[in-house]
């Protein structure tokens, strides 16, 4: 059953990657404004 240790280790690693991605997203300001982008995306056709 030693495989459990490895599996848990891997699963934690994956989870930590996602946590890192989330922290990076916050850091890069993606959570500063969650309304404007939803409108902005509609403009591209209007150029």
């Amino acid at each position: 059953m030693n495989i459990i240790f490895i599996l848990i280790g891997i699963s934690l690693l994956v989870a930590v990657t996602f946590l890192g991605a989330f922290l990076w997203a916050v850091r890069s300001g993606q959570y500063e404004d969650d309304y404007t982008p939803s409108v902005r995306v509609l403009f591209d056709d209007e150029e």
Partner: protein
């Protein structure tokens, strides 16, 4: 012209702003416009292929109101101002964030993000819609800050650049909550997975083999939650303790500590898996509550800084000539120049020119006060008319207004801004919990020491009032959103509580109960010929004075002379715009004596419009109906070719729905009305307010403040409704100060809530809804106590196992969130909000 003739009776909406056009709309590219300003914006956008603006949203424009003062933005060229405003600056790029309160729809976002098409020097512009901010990057080599701001003003989005902004602080502090939330979520998920073997006790073999490993791993995962995510609760509890005050975070911290220590002990001594999944879960749910709270606040964030009202730069007169300096640099003895429509930045002595100071911000008196050379003028007044030269006698920070604001009487008695209710309940909660925990120890100790410890910690754990802490943010957050949709903006959720508890409502009269924009105009005097009306309208159009504008509009609509010349008049109106001899350029020798009146020669006839003294040297007694000191009305006299014709009387009109609102409120509240005016309208107001209400006249801002303070001394909870300008002190003094305003961009620093004038009719419903919201919070408290009761029942018996905790805790948190939100929504629905 048949097309326009039909248009007259079918309310043409302006292509730009959507306002109703006057009877003879300006036409450009076959589109109707209500005014030159709107047309100018359209022309500019049209020339740059930006008319998509008008397709994205229905009538997105803002009426362009301001009179363009060419030198208004000159201060932006100043080095010190730029240094403070610009966030980043190099030779090739400059970047700054501007607040633009006018933005309100998708079209606004689109236009503002396409600024580079209007000014190639702008490299990028990004909107943060929720904060109403625009971040602009531009190339200093091609354009300047002044040009960018001028462009924004030209398209109707003049940024709000104020002193407050000059001492700018960015708001990036709230990212920490996201970090904490993410971390807690991550740890909670993983700890829960590791705790699964416990939940499913049939995998006993697995548990025996890996229990220890899982335990230690959970401990490692729970540590960052304790140290980072839960830190805020400990800090808040500690802050409270230092001030000898037990807030809701204290029992939360106590419970969290008990949870963690018990788990630590259990895991290290191999007794069991501990409660770490409950621990991380609780922190996660409570952080979600905090996040909801923060988002609601952010959406409602408004500028409370009084410095917003002051001009940023003033024109300093030096020996070398005029110089624009920042207000902060102003010193006693400086000579300054204040132009038409500019605010006086500091107390000063009038040195040259005729002052016509509009003190409506300070005293509520909208009629300008004449000041002669040598007299003192106070900060906060607005000069109307010619430019005046002033000598500063007191520095800005010591000015009258600032004093008024810094007056200790104006500071609210350290108002508990957060969930006063919850904190109060929380205190009793702690007492009950501690008593229960101690008695369970006393009960168990003689029988079973281990059980005693277990019961003790379980009580502390289950007593953690996390559901309680979630109830208020969710209920109040939902309530604030309901209010926000109805254009009633509250500073924070504590205001809902205050509104719900209030028993007295004090109204200000001027600008609050009366609607200055809808004043009724009547004409008294010799009958006016249509041609004469056009003469007067043409002259009045030249002036920016509110009464002149109003008069020009009324005459244009032909409303004053009740339809009798409507057809003919509008026909002439069309002529007026196109080929009549009375186009604006045909007004010769136009002079405007500020505060007195206008005169000019229109189509060869001399026209005078203005005060009685100005129009006719000796006003005849029979000119008006009677010469009363009725301040309810303002009069504008007219004369053509030296012959006095009569006067236009502007009556004050009360707001729509006022009677209904006052009637409803009168049944449940003690009402009072304060007015800075005289008591000519006492009868009418008495009828509206009912016999019990207190009506006070001749009230100065200080009187209003004192009155509200006296009411509060009697133990009443007072709501003050004012326009937020002349009664700022009283608004601040009241338990809840509500500013009633027609333009939402006019924030008042003192108020707790802003009510859009169009929603005034629902004011009584708002108050009832606030009361209902309090009931919802109480109901949610009862629900959460129910959970706590069940938990406590198990805890004192020592039956509170990790699995019970893992089920009960999340269920209680989630159901409280749901219950609070749904119940508030339902209440709103029932109140038809």
């Amino acid at each position: 012209m048949p097309t326009t003739a039909t248009a007259i009776h079918t309310h043409v909406a302006c292509t730009h702003c959507g306002d109703e056009c006057p009877d003879e709309p300006l036409l450009f590219a076959e589109q109707p416009f209500c005014c030159q300003g709107c047309q100018a914006v359209y022309e500019l956008l049209n020339a740059n292929n930006l008319c998509t603006y008008y397709r994205l949203d229905e009538r997105p424009g803002q009426k362009v109101r301001e009179v363009e003062l060419p030198s208004r933005f000159d201060y932006l060229d100043q080095e010190s101002v730029q240094a403070q405003l610009l966030a980043f600056r190099s030779d090739t790029l400059a970047k700054l964030t501007l607040t633009i309160p006018q933005m309100h729809c998708a079209s606004c976002i689109w236009l503002l993000e396409n600024l580079h098409k209007l000014n190639p020097g702008v490299s990028e512009s990004r909107v943060n819609f929720l904060r109403k901010e625009l971040t602009v990057s531009y190339l200093p080599s091609q354009t300047s800050l002044k040009d960018v701001v001028k462009l924004l003003a030209a398209v109707g989005y003049e940024p709000q650049i104020t002193l407050a902004e000059l001492g700018a602080q960015s708001h990036h502090g709230n990212r920490t909550l996201y970090y904490k939330l993410g971390l807690a979520g991550f740890c909670f998920g993983n700890v829960m997975l590791l705790a699964f073997p416990d939940y499913l006790s049939f995998i006993e073999q697995l548990q025996a083999e890996f229990g220890r490993f899982f335990g230690y791993l959970s401990l490692v995962l729970a540590l960052p939650v304790l140290l980072v995510s839960a830190r805020g609760f400990y800090e808040s509890a500690w802050q409270g303790l230092k001030q000898r005050y037990i807030n809701l975070d204290f029992p939360i911290s106590l419970g969290l500590t008990a949870l963690f220590l018990t788990s630590l002990f259990d895991i290290l001594t191999q007794r069991g898996p501990g409660y770490l999944d409950s621990f991380t879960g609780l922190v996660f749910f409570m952080l979600i509550g905090k996040w909801v709270q923060q988002r609601t606040y952010e959406a409602l964030r408004f500028d409370r800084d009084f410095t917003s009202y002051f001009p940023v730069a003033v024109t300093l007169l030096t020996t070398e000539g005029e110089k624009s300096v920042s207000v902060k640099e102003l010193q006693v003895g400086n000579r300054i120049l204040v132009r038409n429509q500019e605010v006086i930045p500091a107390d000063a002595i009038l040195m040259r020119g005729t002052g016509q100071i509009d003190y409506s911000f300070v005293s509520g008196e909208s009629v300008p006060v004449a000041k002669l050379t040598g007299e003192v003028v106070y900060a906060g007044g607005r000069q109307v008319g010619e430019a005046v030269e002033l000598e500063v006698v007191r520095e800005v920070s010591q000015g009258y207004l600032t004093q008024l604001w810094n007056n200790p009487a104006f500071q609210k008695a350290e108002k508990q801004t957060l969930e006063t209710y919850a904190n109060k309940v929380g205190r009793y909660f702690v007492a009950v919990t501690l008593v229960l925990a101690l008695s369970s120890i006393l009960y168990w100790y003689p029988k079973d020491t281990h059980m005693a410890m277990r019961a003790f910690t379980s009580v502390l754990v289950i007593a953690c009032p996390c559901a309680l802490s979630l109830a208020t943010p969710f209920a109040m957050g939902a309530a604030l959103r309901v209010f926000g949709r109805r254009k009633f903006y509250l500073k924070n959720s504590a205001v809902v509580e205050t509104l719900g508890r209030a028993d007295t409502i004090v109204f200000d009269k001027t600008g609050t109960l009366t609607d200055t924009h809808r004043s009724e105009v009547r004409y008294v005097g010799l009958p006016l010929q249509p041609a004469e009306m056009q003469l007067i309208a043409a002259l009045a159009q030249q002036s920016t004075h509110p009464l002149s504008q109003r008069l020009a509009k009324e005459l244009g609509n032909g409303e004053v002379v009740k339809g009798e010349i409507l057809g003919e008049g509008t026909e002439e109106g069309n002529l007026l715009k196109e080929n009549s001899p009375f186009t604006t350029s045909q007004v010769h020798h136009f002079t405007e004596l500020p505060g007195q009146g206008l005169s000019g020669v229109v189509a060869g006839r001399e026209v005078k419009v203005g005060s009685a003294a100005f129009v006719c040297a000796k006003p005849k007694a029979q000119q008006g109906p009677e010469h009363s000191a009725d301040t309810r009305q303002s009069r504008v006299y007219v004369a053509v070719d030296g012959e006095n014709l009569g006067c236009f009387v502007f009556y004050n009109v009360y707001r729509e729905h006022m009677q209904k609102v006052l009637q409803t409120l009168g049944k449940r509240y003690h009402l009072a009305m304060l007015s800075g005016d005289n008591n000519t309208e006492q009868e009418r107001l008495r009828g509206l307010f009912g016999p019990k209400a207190e009506l006070r006249f001749w009230q100065s801002p200080q009187d209003k403040l004192d009155y509200v303070a006296a009411l509060r001394q009697q133990g009443r909870t007072v709501i003050m409704v004012g326009d937020g300008l002349n009664d700022a002190g009283a608004l601040q003094q009241a338990d809840a100060g509500i500013a009633l305003t027609d333009t939402l961009s006019n924030f008042s620093p003192a108020c707790d809530a802003i009510l859009d004038a169009s929603s005034f009719g629902q004011f009584a419903t708002f108050l009832r809804f606030s009361q209902n919201c309090l009931q919802v919070v109480l109901a949610t408290f009862i629900l959460s106590f129910g959970y706590n009761g069940i938990g406590l029942g198990l805890a004192v018996q020592g039956k509170f196992t990790p699995i019970v905790s893992a089920i009960l805790m999340p269920i209680s948190s989630l159901s409280v969130m749901l219950f609070a939100t749904l119940l508030v929504r339902f209440t709103a629905y029932r109140n038809k909000l």
